[in-house]
Every structure is written in C-alpha cells, then in structure tokens.
Amino acid sequence: MKKVILYISLSLGVFFSSCDSLIDVQPRQSIDTATAFTSEEAVQAAILGVYDRLQGLRVYGRDLIALPEALSDNGRATNKSGRLNPEYLNQPGAHFADGLWQGAYYAINQINLILENLPTVPRMAQATKDVVEGEALFMRALFYFNLTRAYAYDPGAIVAPSNKGSVPLILKGVTGLDQVELSARASIDDVYAQIYKDLDGAIAKLPARTAVNRVNKVSAQAIYSRVALYRRDYAAVVKNANDALNGGVGSFLSNAAYVGGFRSAINPESIFELEYQTPENTGVNESLQTSFTTLLTSGNRATTGGFGDLVPTNDLLAQFETGDVRRNLYELGTAGRGAAEIECTKFLGKNGQPNLDNVPVIRVSEVILNRAEALAMQGNAAAALTDLNRIRTRAGLAESTASGTALLEEILKQRRVELAFEGHRWFDLKRLGRDIVKAAPAQTIPFTDFKILARLPIREIQINSNLQQNSGY
C-alpha cells in the first residue's frame, strides 16, 4: 500500500517535471521566427519573400507606377470605375496609401532579420551568402528610397517650414514585442546616406548575372544612378550609370524593336523588373492594365477588358513630336466602359493573361536619361547631348542641338515622354521642386502645397508619439 502510493507519487512527480516538453507543439504551416532563418533554404526563401512584398498593389503592383502619373500632369482619371480619381484631383489624403508604408516596413524587417541571421547560417558557402546579402541590401535601399520620396522632401527641393525629415530608419530585426522601437523620423540626409551605404554594399556583394527578375550588380548600379540623381550627386550618377550601361544587362532597343519591347513578356530594355506569375494576377480592379486601358489587345476595340481609369492628359500627348515611335504605345480604347479615350498600352497582359504584366523597376533608357541630366547639371553639355540624342534618334526624332537651360528642359521632356506611365513623373517634378501644373477640373499644385508629401498612416502617429505627421494632415 505504501509502495503503491510511493509509485503513484513518483510518477506524478515525473509527469510534473516533464510538463514543459509534454505540451510542446511546433506549428507546421508557419515556423518559429526565432529559428526561421537558420538554414540556407530558409534564407533563400526569405529573400524571395522580400521580392513578394515589392509586388503588392500598394507598392510596385500598382501605386508606385500609377500614382506618380495620376498625381502629376501625365494622367487624367476617366471615372470609369472611380479609381484614381481622388488622386488625379489631388484630394487631401489621396496619395500614396498606408499600404506602401506598411509593406515597406514589413519588408525592411524581413531584410533586417536576414542580414542579422546570415553570418551564422551553417553550411552555406560564403559566395552564396554574399549574393543573399547583396540582394537584401539592395532591397533595403530600394524600400527606403521609395519611402523617402513618397513621404519626405528630396535633397535640394525642400520647403523648410514643412520639412519633418524623412522616415524612421529601422535597421534591426524584430521578432518579439520587447524589440519594438518607436523611432522618430530620421533626417533626409541620414536616410540617403543609409541608402548609399546599402547600395555600395550591394554592388560589392551582388554577382554579375543577367536574369532581370532578380537583382544583380547592374540593378544596384542602375538604381544608384537614380538615387544619386535625386540626391543631386551628379558625379555618382555618371559613375554608376556608366557602370550599369557597361554591365551587359538590358539592351537599348532600336526604333524598329521599340514597341515590340513593350509587347513582350520581358522588355529587353529592363535591368530589373518584377515578374508576375498566374497566381499573382493583380485582377480586374487594380491591375496596371485595367488602370490604364480598356483594351485586351492592341488594335482590337471590339472587346472590352478593364476599366481604363487613367489616360494620358492632353498635355502629355502634346509632348510627342510627329513621328515619335513612342506615340504608338497610345491608342484609342473601347467604348465599353464609357466614352472611348486614348489610352496607354504599355501594360496589356503580356504574360498571357489579362491583367498579368511584369512591372519594370528600372530600364536602360532611364539610366541614359539619368546620366544625361547629371551631365547637363555638371555643365558637360556635349556628353549630355549625346545621351539625349540617343533617346531622340531612337524615337525617330531629329537630333537636338539645345544647350543651357533648353538642353536640361529637353532632357526632362524626353524623360517625361520616355518614362510616361512607368511611375516617374510625380517624383521627377517633386525632386526638381516644380509645381504640378494641371488642367481643369484638376488644379495646379504649387510645390509649396502640403499635398506634395503623402500622409503618414494615422495609426502610426497614434501609436508612436515620436513620429511627426507631415504638415497639413
């Protein structure tokens, strides 16, 4: 009897002491973040997870491409689905949405975690680690660059009384509540310094591969040329543009091949573009195709596809000189959703399905234009003119002989025409400190207007008392 009680007590004791392991259950659809990035496979999958964030509708999926057109003087909303109309009218708050902030910081956290865990991943070749590190650094630079140009002024084009700095600079990964920091906005300079640092690191680590759906050394150099242009660091623009253009990624298309480049799944001009596959179709409501055109195929006005919510302004169409091959990317849409309009057909479901298009992040012509502008700003008119005329003659236009301010204006005009409906115009006007001149019913937005900057997500202001909202909101 005593023995029995002893045994039972003993077994109870064993049960009691082993309780912790007894109730251990590990999730299977998800894994514990604390141990998630400890193998080569996991780290490789994690970097793909960062690319996935870039694809979001509020990031490159739509907003970073369509909003710079709607907010600026390039796009006019047709109100066929009602989308992009508030942005076109520059209504307060109709701007880069909270999702950009959210998506970017989610991605930045992923990147920070990858970078922190990478050095200790076992049995992973250093060369492979370098590639992942390079991609991660590139991505962090790209996300911070997009954040700062959406929410903050750009170097050299600042309305001082309204300047609240750039965005919080988060460089440490978070897995638990105790690690959450409520950071204030960093200065514009600090953020650009960090972007430079990350891009320098990326260029050092990234390989010279040629696939354009993943970043490589040339992508980093190309983006560097754009970032440097925003920072008015013209020497860096020229250096990186030279490197990028000599890197052998992306080709400068001929006049004959130009339109065809926009009709093929991957534009041969691309240095880095986001690939979209069937399950990633952004759908009939907000895809770039439905945003820009009602057409399903070029020339077929009988079948209506999307809404065609944003079409070129008359002002944009007037920039095309006679014979410009690029004008062939604009044609009359269908009347299926209301009055037919001239629409941009750069996105036409090129991946074989309606609403399924790759999104260009940077392509060769932009790098040439980046360099042309930098050279012109440096006073190197001859070299600038060479670059400008490469663009002009390829488009089927006569060579320009402009100089001085006229040269710069011509470069900016070609930049506008070349990169229209690819997400540049708003940012270009903003970094140059220019007013956004719009025709009725929209109104001209002076550069001093508070709507030049996007509104920080209200919830972030409420949660983080260190965070200052942009003026006017």
């Binding site: 029995v4 109730i23 251990d24 259950v25 514990d32 998630a36 996991a42 793909l48 910081y105 509540l177």
Partner: protein, 1016 residues
C-alpha cells in the same frame, strides 16, 4: 450470568433446531412502483441478515428460495426507499416501493467523480436524460434550452443538426472562445465546428436518447478542477449504462413532420408595380405617372407599354410556398442492456432523419453505441464505451454557408419580384442563366439553384473511452482513463453548370476533407474515509494530458462536360489545392478535498496547475484554485426532526478562478509563414510577433446559493447569485508597422457578468392518481465591458464592443420616424433633434444590446395513471438585433425587391400623414438624406416566449402488456415550436449572427411527431 447461559442455550438449540428442521420454501411476487404501479426490474430482494437474495426480472417479479426461519425480506432499489417486509409464512409477496422523494441518495456527476447531491457546495445544474428524450432535436445542447438556470442556449438557425451556442452565466470573452467544455463519459469533446458548407454541430455525434444525465458546472470553484479550459463552464454528459439482470430491450420509434412556422405577407404583382412607380416618381418628380410606370415595368423586363387591364391581369407567383415545404422526421432505435454482477453492457443503435422546412436541407444520422463494464476481481474493474456515428447533411446555397445569403431560399423567396414565374409552361425552370436569370436584384432562380447544386457535409466520428479502476484498499482507488475523439469531416460543394455560379466556369466542385484527433488521458487517486463517525473526507489527486490535432486539405476543380459529372476527375481545370495542420497540447495536475462534518458543514477546496501549448513561453502554466463551503442548516439539531415540513436548507458559497485557453493554437509565437512566393518559388516572411507573455483569459467567479426543500420535498428551490469577473481578455493591440507587424494579441480586456438564477420544482396537486408538477427556472443577467485596449472606449475591429455597455451593443442613430410634411425618414441627432442626415459617429448612441438579460423555462406536467401531458415554455428577453431581412422587405420599391404588405399599407403618401414608414424612393435615399433603412429602424426586439414542447403520452397498463410479454409500452404525440410570442417581424427571433445577421437563416421548424416506446 445464569440468565446469560440460559439465553445461550436457547439460542444454540434454536440454531440446531433450525438446521434440523431447515425446510426451504419459495416466495415469489412482484415489486412495483407506488407511483404508477409499473413493475420494477432489477430490485434487490435479500433475506434480512443474510447475503442470500435475488433481483427482480424485467417485469418486476422475483422468486426466492427462503429458509423457514427467515423473518423479513429487504427490497431495495436505487431511487426508491428500501422496504423491509415480514415474510411470515407467505409464499406470495407483492411489494410496492415508494420513490425516495428526499433524493438523499441522488448522485451528481462532478469533475472526475461524483458526489451526493446533498454534499454539493458549488452551483451545479442537472438535467436528466428522460427530460430531453425523443425530442426531434439532433444534439443534446439544443434540447437543453430552457432546462437549466444560467444556461442560455441559442440555436444559430433551424437547420436540423445545426450550430448551437451555449453560454453559461453570460459572455466572458470578446475575441477568444465562449464555448463551455463538453465532456462525454470523461472524453473532452472537440467542439469546434469546421464544416464550411453546412451548419453543423460537433455534438450531433451523440444520440440524445443515449444520455442518462447532463450536469452543468457553473461556478468557478466547481469547474476549477478543469483549470485553463473551464472559464465558460463545464458540461458533463453521462450516457446510459447496463444494469445487471435480465437483458432488457427497448425499441423506440417516432415519425412526424416539419413545417415552416411563418410565411411573409408580400405584395402581389400589381401593388409592387404601383409602389415601384411611386418610388421612381418620388425620386424624379419631373417624370409623368406613365413615364415612371414604363420605367418600373421595363426594370423588371416587362413591356413598358402594358395597359391598366394588362397589368391587372399579371399573375403573382408565390416563391415562398415553392421554396418552403413540409418535411419528414423519423427516428428509430433499439437498445439492449443487461449483464451479470460481473459484467454489464449497454448497446444501442439509432437512425435519425430530419428535413428542414425548406427544400434540400436535411440531416441524416446513424449511431452505434456500446458500453461494457466488467469486474475482473474485487480489486480491479474496467469500464469501456464506444460511440460510432455517421452524419450526412444537405444544405442549400447560402443556408447558411456555401454562398452569399442573397441566393438562400429563405432570404430570397419573399423578396423575388412576384411577376417572375418559377417554372416555364413546359415544367422546366424559368430564368436559367442562359436566359439571363430572373428579373430583379435577386436574379437567380433559387429553386433551380437549390435543386441542382450539391452541398453536402458528411461527418464520421468515433468517440471512445476506457477506464481502469483499481481498489487499492478500503476507500482508496486508482483510476486510469483514456479517451479518444476522432472525426472526419467531408465537405462537398458542386456549383452546377446550370446555375448562375457554375455557368461561366461550366461547374465548380470544391471538396474539403478534415480530420481531427483528440486524445485525453487522466489518472486519479481517490481516497474516501470517515473518521470518528462524523468527519467524512474525500480527496482526489490526478494528472491529465490532452493532445488535439486538426488537419485538412481541400481542392477546387472547374469545367465539367455535363452536369452528370460531379466528381473531381470529371473536371478539366484544377483551380486550387491547399491544406493545413494545427494542434495543441494541455497538461495539468489537480487535487480536490471534500470535508463533511456530520452532514452539516461542508467544505471543498480545489487546485489545478495547468499548462497549455497555446500560451507564451513565460506563461505556459498557471494555478486555478477554488474553494466552496456549505452549511446544511436543516441538519442542525435545532431543526432536524423538529420542523416537519422543512426538509432541506442549505447555504452555499464558492469562490474560484478558471481559465480560458480558446485562442489560436500558435497565437503566442513569433511566426514566419509561407505563401510569400516569387518567380514560382516558395518564399517566407515573418507574419506574427511573438508574445511570450500571452496568457489565458481569467474568470473569477463568486457564487452564493441556497437550496431549499419543503413539505416532504413537494417544493424544492435553488437560488444562486453569481459575480463572474473576466479579466486578461485577449484583444488585438496594434503595434507600429515600422516594427514589421500590425498587431499583437495581448491580455488587456475586462468584462463582468452578474446575475441571479432561480430554479423551482413543485408538486402542485396530488389527488388520487392525478398529479400536477411544475418546474420553473429563470436567469437574470447583467453584462458589461469594463476595459479594452489602453484607454480605448471601443474595440477598433468591432464597434459593438464598448466600454460601459454590454457586449453586442447596438450603436447607431436612433430612428425618429417620418416627417409628416415631406414623408422623409428622420433620425435623432446628438441633441435629440430630428435630422435627415445623422452623422457617424457624432449622432450615434448605444440603443440596446444583443445580450439577452433574461431567459428561462417553465414545464407543467399533468399525470393521471399512465397518461401524461407536458407543456414546456421557453423564453428569452432583452436581445435587440438587426432584422436584416425585414430591412430588405421594407424598401417599398426602392430597389427591385418585393415588400411586405403591411409596410406598403403604412407608407407615407400624403402630407400630414403620421406613420413610421417613409415614402417610397428609388435608391432608398432622399436627396441630402441618409439611407431610409439605416439607423435603428430595423433593430428589433428579439425577445420571445415559445411553446417549445407539448406532448401527450400514455403508458399502457401492465395488465395489458404483460400478456404480450412486454415490459412497457408508451405511446405519445408531441409538437415542438407550436407557438411563438414575439414582436420580431422576421421569420424567427431565434438565430445567431454568423456574419449576415438573419439574412438567409433557415428558421426553426414546427414539428409534430408520434412515437412508440416498447420495452421487452
């Protein structure tokens, strides 16, 4: 001393004489119940002072060989007073036993054991199996409605075997689960319902007629033995077990019909065209009457130029009477029980089929239950039972799952424009997708959809348990228990190519398959002893472990050649395939001590140390204590046997803490998930912030109660007051996105439930063979949310959760009726002035709550000899909810929906008219006015009183049936949901909002059934 010797001698000689003249004789007779004269089977008949005896057979007769010197026979039977009868020289001895009205021996099942009801110090409600027997309800939870104080039972809908919600002592959680812990014969049942297409009830696996009793542990002190799972109360179900003796069979059959409780009185074609014309003209006064009418006619695809006479001749089609129908109810079961003193068994098989009152919704179940108890030796015995069940349920589009409510027959049938025919003249369906559907917003032919789609759910379940009982020594036993609840759910949804949903994709088939396995084991050591006669101690010490795993996969395929192809291999285009796995584990150690002094002073202390894999690393384990005490005043010397009319006064008090761990299995973890894919390769990303401090929600309940019994227990009553404080409620607390995450689940909320519970049983009349008994219970509740995230006064994700108000607050602008001058709807603004445009949230106020503050049940039973009439009313009060369907039905031609006749009749038409129904307006919103159906206008009082059960039964007299060698025959007729008294304007006030309010909800049916119950 001499005398003593003499006695000895006499005794010895008597004994010898006894041996010498020992001449056994046979005594036989019948033991019957004094209540109804029926024979009592299994009554122990023992010769007094010996262990010689027998038991009565199924008819209550016995035969016993009795030595000549025997003086008395002792007749004893559970639930009856033991009787000693002088045997004298009789050879025939019929005995009538009186029921033990004091019920002093009534045993109540409590956590990991049972207790004499007399010794209970917590708040435990008990419902006997016979109370819920043979009701046309597929799960016992539904049958509990109105039977126990403090237990609110609300059916989600009238789908047979559909979802039911039980709330014990109010709502204690905002975002975590509110379901009680269900334990069937010791097996903790996984009661999460994961059927996607059909409303299904995880408790439907058990045939309610196999239930012996249901005990509900309501107070925290009693429930705390179940620790982190007991916050919402515990429901203990005990099934029927075998009794030693002759094998008894019981055949049970009932048959009946279900029918709709109500039809809506909607407009005919002519009135609808008229009101639509008005609505169009009111919106655009520039139109002439004729122009507006043309517009109304062409809107529903009629010729705009129809003349008055042609309009008058238009037929009206009644979609309600086409969609609702009378259905059948059928139940058949056979059980057998019996055994020897070593082994007893109970086996039962049942088949149950019930239709809803709408086309193509039904429930079909077969169960097999077997339980065997066996005594290996005096020291060792085991108990085992297994329940197998298969359930097949059909559902229709949107009823309530499997598609939007717009296509649900119950939602759509009164709303479809009445000019639409149902069938073409050749009998085929009118309005096929090829033909462009039917006219109006609801443009599917709902009958076509319901008849051609396949929406089905099959649940196969096995629940089994095994228990080893080892009597180590006097008073000391060791129990080892193992339980398994295994379930496979198969879901199938075939959107037929002939329906609107399947037409474009040529048919869509979705298959789901889910398996869940739930294993429980516990081991307890029980020790009971009485010291020095007056000190009775009962202790229990135990450990428990539970492992619950759920796994599922699903697929979707489209493009079928013809509608005859209805399996995945017939589809050409696979659309998706997916799966998931989840699971949790719990482990706990617990102990309980009961102390009873002279039956007067009772004390119980409970402690459980519980751990759950769901909680954060720092909070995996916690203590759940409970203490309760009772004072049986009636056992005090100054009352006992002095006040004859007073049988019992017991004061009880208890205080305890319980936990609620019904949260996501991995809510506390920092998680990195898949699906963040790029270039066709799997990508991952962190998607949940870890919270190592995530802990259970905590309930601390104080309970004070009194149990009373008077006049030989002709009146018994139980009154309880409770105060249930729910703390550490889990809410989503937002974190800055800059951290890489959106929110975190944290223990921050607080809420309380307080209330009174009354239960009264009376025997009102006993005149000869006639008795009238009443059973009444009522609960009065108050609920209030007291704290949310930080200093928030409203929950960001749900504006009906507001600090200072009951959960489910109705937060909107109050409807102020119609401006008599203009016919426009108005609402009160913040200052109480009428406005056309109330603002959100400035003019919004809390106008009630969906929390029911009062509920109860009243049963009256009239018995005369074998005849019994039972009338059971059940009621719920204080619930205010949106009547979505009435809102649609009150648009008066604002959109292309039909309208209620009485709303049409009351509509504003002329200046100065006082009414609450605004003038018809196309689009339902006046210029610079809010939507006419907004605000509080369609929040209605869903209180109701329902004649839930009316049954008349007759036990055939023994004389009659014994000739046919039957033990008992009972026939009965029964009606459920016969009458409902309510202000609710929809089909049925009893429903749960599972996302679309009452839209598309299949209401309760009225059922009639006739049955027979034969024992042999």
């Amino acid at each position: 001393m001499k005398q003593l010797l003499r006695y000895c001698f006499v005794l010895c000689s008597l004994a010898f004489a006894g041996v010498a003249v020992a001449q056994d004789r046979t005594v036989s007779g019948k033991v019957s119940s004094s209540e109804d004269g029926s024979g009592l089977p299994g009554v122990s008949v023992v010769i007094k002072g010996t262990s010689v005896g027998t038991a009565t057979d199924a008819n209550g007769t016995y035969k016993l060989s009795v030595p000549a010197n025997a003086t008395k026979l002792v007749f004893s039977f559970v639930g009856f007073l033991t009787k000693e009868v002088d045997v004298g020289g009789l050879s025939a001895l019929n005995v009538s036993l009186d029921p033990d009205t004091k019920m002093l021996s009534e045993v109540v099942v409590t956590g990991y054991g049972s207790q004499n009801k007399k010794e209970i110090t917590g708040a435990v409600s008990s419902v006997k199996g016979d109370v819920i027997e043979n009701l046309p309800m597929q799960s016992f939870d539904r049958a509990l409605q109105g039977r126990a104080a403090g237990v609110l039972v609300q059916a989600a809908n009238g789908v047979p075997g559909g979802q039911v919600r039980i709330r014990i002592r109010g709502t204690g959680s905002i975002t975590a689960g509110n379901e009680p812990l269900y334990i069937v014969d010791g097996v903790q049942i996984n009661n999460s319902s994961n059927a996607d297409f059909v409303s299904s009830n995880p408790l439907g696996f058990l045939n309610p007629n196999d239930i012996e009793s249901i005990e509900i542990l309501k107070d925290a002190a009693t429930a705390s033995i179940y620790g982190a799972q007991a916050a919402n109360g515990v429901v203990l179900v005990t099934t029927k077990k075998g009794k030693a003796g002759k094998t008894n069979f019981n055949l049970n059959y009932y048959y009946g019909s279900t029918s709709p409780v109500k039809y809506m009185n909607v407009l005919n074609s002519q009135d609808w065209i008229k009101v639509r014309t008005e609505a169009i003209r009111n919106q655009n006064p520039a139109l002439s009457e004729a122009q507006a009418r043309t517009s109304a006619l062409t809107g529903i695809r009629l010729d705009g130029g129809l003349s008055d006479a042609q309009i008058a001749a238009l037929p009206t089609y009644d979609w309600q009477r086409a969609a609702y129908k009378q259905g059948g109810v059928q139940n058949i079961e056979l059980s057998a029980n019996g055994g020897s003193d070593k082994t007893t068994f109970y086996i039962s098989g049942s088949y149950n089929k019930q239709d809803a009152n709408v086309i193509n919704v039904d429930f079909e179940r077969a169960t097999l239950r077997m339980s065997v108890n066996h005594k290996v030796s005096n020291k060792l015995s085991f108990e085992q039972s297994i329940n197998l069940s298969t359930i097949s349920q059909k559902g229709t589009f949107g009823s309530p799952n499997g598609g939007s409510f717009l296509g649900s027959p119950y939602f759509a049938s009164p709303l479809i424009i009445p000019t639409n025919p149902i069938y073409n003249e050749d009998g085929t369906y009118f309005g096929t997708p090829q033909a462009g559907g039917i006219s109006g917003v609801l443009n599917q032919n709902i009958l076509l959809t319901a008849e051609t789609n396949t929406i089905r759910n099959v649940t196969n379940q096995a629940v089994g348990n095994f228990k080893l009982i080892w009597s180590i020594a006097e008073g000391l036993t060791f129990n080892s228990f193992f339980g398994l609840d295994y379930r496979v759910i198969k879901g199938e949804y075939y959107a037929d190519p002939r329906t609107a949903d399947g037409f474009a994709v040529r048919g869509r088939l979705t298959n789901e398959n889910e398996q869940s396995m739930n294993f429980t084991t516990n081991h307890t050591l029980n020790y009971n002893k009485t010291f020095a006669r007056d000190h009775k101690i009962g202790t229990i010490l135990g450990v428990e472990y539970r492992n619950d795993v759920r796994e599922s996969w699903n697929q979707q395929v489209t493009s079928f050649a013809t509608p005859q192809f209805r399996t995945a291999n017939g589809g050409a285009t696979p659309q998706s395939a997916s799966g998931f796995w989840t699971g949790y584990k719990r482990a706990g150690v617990f102990g309980r001590v009961n102390y009873d002094f002279k039956g007067r002073y009772l004390l119980t202390a409970t402690l459980r140390y519980d751990g759950s894999s769901r909680f954060g690393a720092n909070q995996k384990f916690g203590f759940f204590p409970g203490v309760s005490a009772g004072w049986v005043i009636s056992e005090e010397n100054f009352i006992k046997d002095k006040v004859s009319w007073l049988d019992e006064i017991k004061l009880r008090a208890s205080y305890g803490a319980t936990g609620n761990d019904q949260i996501g299995d991995f809510d506390s973890r920092g998680l990195t998930g898949g699906g963040f894919n790029y270039i066709g390769q799997a990508g991952i990303a962190p998607n949940q912030l870890s919270n190592p401090n995530l802990s259970w929600e905590k309930n601390v309940t104080t309970d004070i109660g009194i149990d009373l019994g008077f006049f030989n227990r002709r009146i018994t009553a139980t009154v309880d007051y409770f105060d249930r404080q729910s703390k550490q409620l889990l809410l989503n607390q937002p974190v800055a996105w800059t951290s890489g995450y959106g929110d975190i689940t944290a223990n921050v909320g607080q809420m309380y439930n307080r209330g009174w519970e009354f239960g009264i049983n009376t025997t009102n009349l006993t005149i000869g063979d006639f008795t009238w008994k009443t059973n009444f219970n009522i609960s009065l509740l108050e609920n209030k949310v007291t704290k949310l995230v930080g200093s928030d006064t409203v929950l960001a994700s749900n504006t009906s959760v507001r600090v200072g108000h009951p959960i489910g607050a109705v937060y909107t602008a109050e409807y102020a009726g119609v401006n008599p001058a203009t016919g426009r709807p108005m609402w009160y603004d913040i200052n109480g002035n009428p406005t056309y445009t109330p603002r959100n949230p400035t003019d919004f106020r809390v106008l009630g709550s969906s929390f029911a503050t009062r509920f109860g049940g009243l049963t009256n039973t009239f018995a005369y000899k074998g005849l019994e009439l039972l009338i059971f009313f059940q009621a719920e009060y204080g619930r205010k909810v949106a009547n979505g369907q009435s809102s649609f039905l009150s648009e008066n031609g604002g959109r292309l929906f039909n309208t209620l006749q009485e709303v049409y009749d009351r509509r504003w038409t002329t200046a100065g008219q006082l009414t609450d129904v605004p003038r018809p307006i196309n689009g339902n919103a006046e210029v610079r006015g809010n939507g006419a159906t907004g605000g509080s206008r369609f929040f209605e009082d869903a209180s109701y009183i329902r004649l839930k059960q009316l049954s008349l039964s007759y036990n055939l007299p023994n004389k009659l049936i014994s000739r046919a060698k039957l033990a008992s025959v009972r026939v009965y007729a029964q009606a459920t949901n016969l009458l409902t008294f309510t202000k609710w304007s929809g089909y049925d006030p009893e429903f749960l909002d599972t996302g679309a309010g009452n839209n598309g909800v299949v209401p309760q049916s009225r059922t009639y059934n006739f049955g027979i119950n034969i024992g042999f």
